[in-house]
């Protein structure tokens, strides 16, 4: 299997960023991390985030050592973390964007 890599920026982060496309299975964990590997339980596209621990609903998501949002449902270790399970603490519109492509669905083209 091709080498899978994720990057954890600060020690207190609970997510890491995929530097390669990741399929279910082990991924090398680089950066400020105590563990050297994380098991992905689903597909995670390059650039997207993977949960490093179980995260409860409404719990903060941490990246760069700061809070970047909150979980909107329970997230399991190794899952893909994006618009479908986390939200901004400020921006409401973005929670309605398409989770794959980011395109807006609130303005009808007709």
């Amino acid at each position: 299997m091709k080498k899978q890599v994720a990057f954890k920026i600060e020690i207190e982060d609970n997510v890491a960023t995929a530097l390669t496309d990741i399929k279910p299975g082990a991924a090398k964990l680089r950066g400020d991390s105590e563990i050297k590997e994380i098991d992905a339980v689903e597909n995670i596209k390059k650039g997207h985030k993977i949960a490093l621990v179980d995260i409860k609903k409404d719990e903060p998501i941490k990246k760069y050592g700061i809070v970047i949002g909150a979980a909107t449902k329970e997230i399991n270790k190794g899952q893909w973390v994006h618009l479908h399970c986390m939200r901004s603490l400020y921006d409401e519109r973005s929670s309605h964007l398409d989770v794959e492509t980011g395109v807006p669905k609130d303005i009808k083209y007709e």
Binding site: T17, Y64, I66, I68, T101, G102
Partner: protein, 403 residues
Amino acid sequence: MEWEGFYRKNGQIGIRNRIIVIYTVECSSFVAKEITRLSNNLDVECIGFSGCTDNEYAVRLLISLIRHPNIGGVLAVGLGCEYIQPEWLADIAAEEGKEHKWMFIQEEGGTKKSINKGLSIVEKMLKDLEKTERKKMGISDLIIGAECGGSDYTSGLAGNVVVGRFFDRLVSQGGTAIFEEIVEAVGLIDLLRERAVDEEVKKEIEYTYDKALKYCKSVRQYSVSPGNFAGGLTTIEEKSMGAFVKSGTKDIEGVLKIAQRPEHSGLWLLDSTPDPHWMQFGITNPNDNEGLMDLISCGSHIVFLVTGRGSVVGSAVSPCLKITGNSDTYQNMKDDMDFNAGNVLTGKKTLSESAEALEELVINIASGGLTKSEDLGHKEYFIPYKYQDKKVNVPSNYKCDKY
């Protein structure tokens, strides 16, 4: 390391010697653009404001570009009935000791006659500009502004990080660095205020931040785009942190408004968000070129655009240097990308090596080398209706939301 710049009457030194053909209303834009196009010269650029009713911000911005050290000559083209006065713009250029001419299409007799007259004016100006006085300049004379556009996950891991390192180097050597996009510092008030050089600047930063956040909330739009999300960024907070790292680690000397020149060297934060006004202008960050123009209005000789997804824009007045932290984007759009910061992610270069390489490229561009966007002919500009105070005015009764 020194090179020859273009010496201006006000003592400033530019890295280009350009002519701007300015249209003062949409009605005169075709003539201005044709004069520019048919002049067929990299040093002849077109900028302008489309509204007939004028706007203080737009006039202030145009004047700051006329005064910009990269500009050697100005031709202002109006229709004849609009609010903005091309003659007054030409007068400012004259005060600055620059080549200057203006015309009204209605007086010249229409499209063809105006274009022909414009072409001979520009031809003569280009010859006269060959005599512009030169003066030696070095990195401490440079003002460089940075913005990000088309961000993805690499922006906060590589692109902006390398710019931050470079900005630290630039400031350490006596140069001036400007960063902006306070609307992409959402959630970061703590990090911002602790970088303030003194208590007064700390208050200015708090006030500017609170205002920007209120603004985003009221227009219900934050500075994010579909491409950011497709590229892995999930929230404005995440994007903000990735953007903020471009400021490096130096103290913030103060908050600038559009067209305000930094009083001295160092790192500065430019507020480009509108100030409250009864006409409720604009939207946050309408596009990247508006941000680049705002940076240039404060005197930036060169502007950085840090991209992840891949932007192709350049800019009028000051060269736009495009940096990407995404090696795939760099390979895919090699004709448009000036610098690959993605090397730090693949381990090919350290952050220090990358910042040093960026400095070398900057000196190359400052001494006359063309950026990819200049070479391709990208000369974008965006001057919308906006309202902004001339200087930061923290009300005496202001209290920071958080502190």
